[in-house]
Point group: C2
Chain length 315, copies 2
Amino acid sequence: MTAEPGGLARIVLTASIARRYYLDGRSKVEIADEFGLSRFKVARLLDAARDSGLVRIEIRHQGEVDVDLSARLQDRYGLQHAVVLDIPDDDPASLRDHLGRAAAQLLAEVITPQDVLGLAWARAVSAMARALPPLPGTPVVQLTGAMSLPGGPDTSVDVVREVASASGGAAHVFYAPFTVPDAATARALRQQPEVARAFAHLPAVTKAVAGVGLWAPGLSVLHDALPEEDRDALARLGVCADVSGVFLSADGEPVVTELSERMIGIGAEEMRAIPEVITIPYGTAKARAVRATLRSGLVGGIVTHTALARAVLEE
Amino acid sequence: MTAEPGGLARIVLTASIARRYYLDGRSKVEIADEFGLSRFKVARLLDAARDSGLVRIEIRHQGEVDVDLSARLQDRYGLQHAVVLDIPDDDPASLRDHLGRAAAQLLAEVITPQDVLGLAWARAVSAMARALPPLPGTPVVQLTGAMSLPGGPDTSVDVVREVASASGGAAHVFYAPFTVPDAATARALRQQPEVARAFAHLPAVTKAVAGVGLWAPGLSVLHDALPEEDRDALARLGVCADVSGVFLSADGEPVVTELSERMIGIGAEEMRAIPEVITIPYGTAKARAVRATLRSGLVGGIVTHTALARAVLEE
DNA sequence: GAGCAGCGCGCTCAGATGAGCAGGAGAAGC
DNA sequence: GCTTCTCCTGCTCATCTGAGCGCGCTGCTC
């Protein structure tokens, strides 16, 4: 891309050598012998070929996975796993289904019989659970309280139960709302035997799946479910993203809020203790929230689509 | 292209490693250290990436030159130089101009002050001559007699004179027709001092430019200029191509004909003695003739367009 | 639980490779 | 014509790479 290699004869010679080297897999010495050049000359011509863009190397996959974006995302944020799907992003429901399937496949690949799976509540997590094949006897732990979602069929309890029963593992569930009006109620709920039993399994969780929301109207189920004063209070504290109820600033730092006291779900430090948390964000608008999430170090995996991945990387 | 590398995580890992190796230029050992793998594992993943088509290497040029086709043509026929232009092939005149310019550039690159240039008569050779920059004092030798062509402004004499005067070299020309009605006339003409002097320079010629015709109506100026009996006689002898008056069978073998006795121009053996003869064929219909020409070993250079190059290679 | 086949993995060493250096041809300037 | 500079070319040596070999793990059979 930088400069032209030279005259016509030189360009063609370079192309010829590049073909021999890169496509036919011959060694530079062989090529040098064949063309009557020194191997150093061959090496220089090959360098020139790459520098000038005569030889172009591209990495891509014929399936849905955009391997190059996946690799860049994984690399850029030091993730354990990243999967970026090249799919149209006009229909959120279809997007969620596709990502859910991919996340299910990824989870099935990386999970071992020793793992304990944690599931937070998010629509994408439900989609994943639906597509999940039976896992090898994996116990499943509920990470967050239930939320009543208009049009959402599954509660967090249902999702955990389904996955556990398909896998033949134990289901550690509890019936409690995600948020309550005051801290005292929350404390009381957490002390309930059922809730306490489920929470006791949190430190054992080794793999988890969560959603990501941007703290703005329509981009976080939690945000939309809260009264206006809570929304504003969190926004004033600099909350940018919520990862299934864990609040993060734009830098990825956990934000301590009064609301946390009134929630029944996993906290930032507990989430950090989980070796791999996989998130399934979608929608270009959430780019800021995803950046915050990846920077936080709380999550190790991401399954998303090209538009969002590009938006995240374009910083 | 053969098989899928494996699961999602493996594919992305492979892509990540491929990116590091091919795009960032890191060594396999560095990559192995970075990813916590052995260098052998890295090597195997890279092999798999290439085999599965995840890494694709293509060779192309942003200019008019199709470097890949050029290289393949050069390689396939063991040529000294091949230049294939990716240009529209609907208008023969424009095609000829483009190829003429490219041939001129090629010739200017490869010619040295020690070279003696020979020019046969062909429309493409005229086009090349028009585009030729001044050469370093190169003597120019006329290789073929003159032909009166409807609409063709330059005779072989004119072309040779022009090039020689632009270059400041000697012009070895002669005034004689390309074909005459009987062998005796041809012999007499060849013994004329002027003709003999020009022919005496033939063995000194080191670089030459010629056209290629397919022995069929409308595809060879020589064919069209001859009476029907000559055309048929040569066709019966298996003539497939004429390289500025040198007749070749489809195999590329020179065909000895009675007509040769009646021509004032270079012969097959004299042409073979020239270290590099550059031809400028165009028009897909001539593919057979070009194949014959390249197989003959008489020529060492070709300047043509993609459609014809592809047709020639598709054997 | 023993034996066996298949396979993934790492080690070895000859051969390939790249950075740096020295010699020589050609261009520019005096 | 001479000097100097620059670019191009080929060489050396330390490092990297790849084919082949043997080990050990896994899953299957008896």
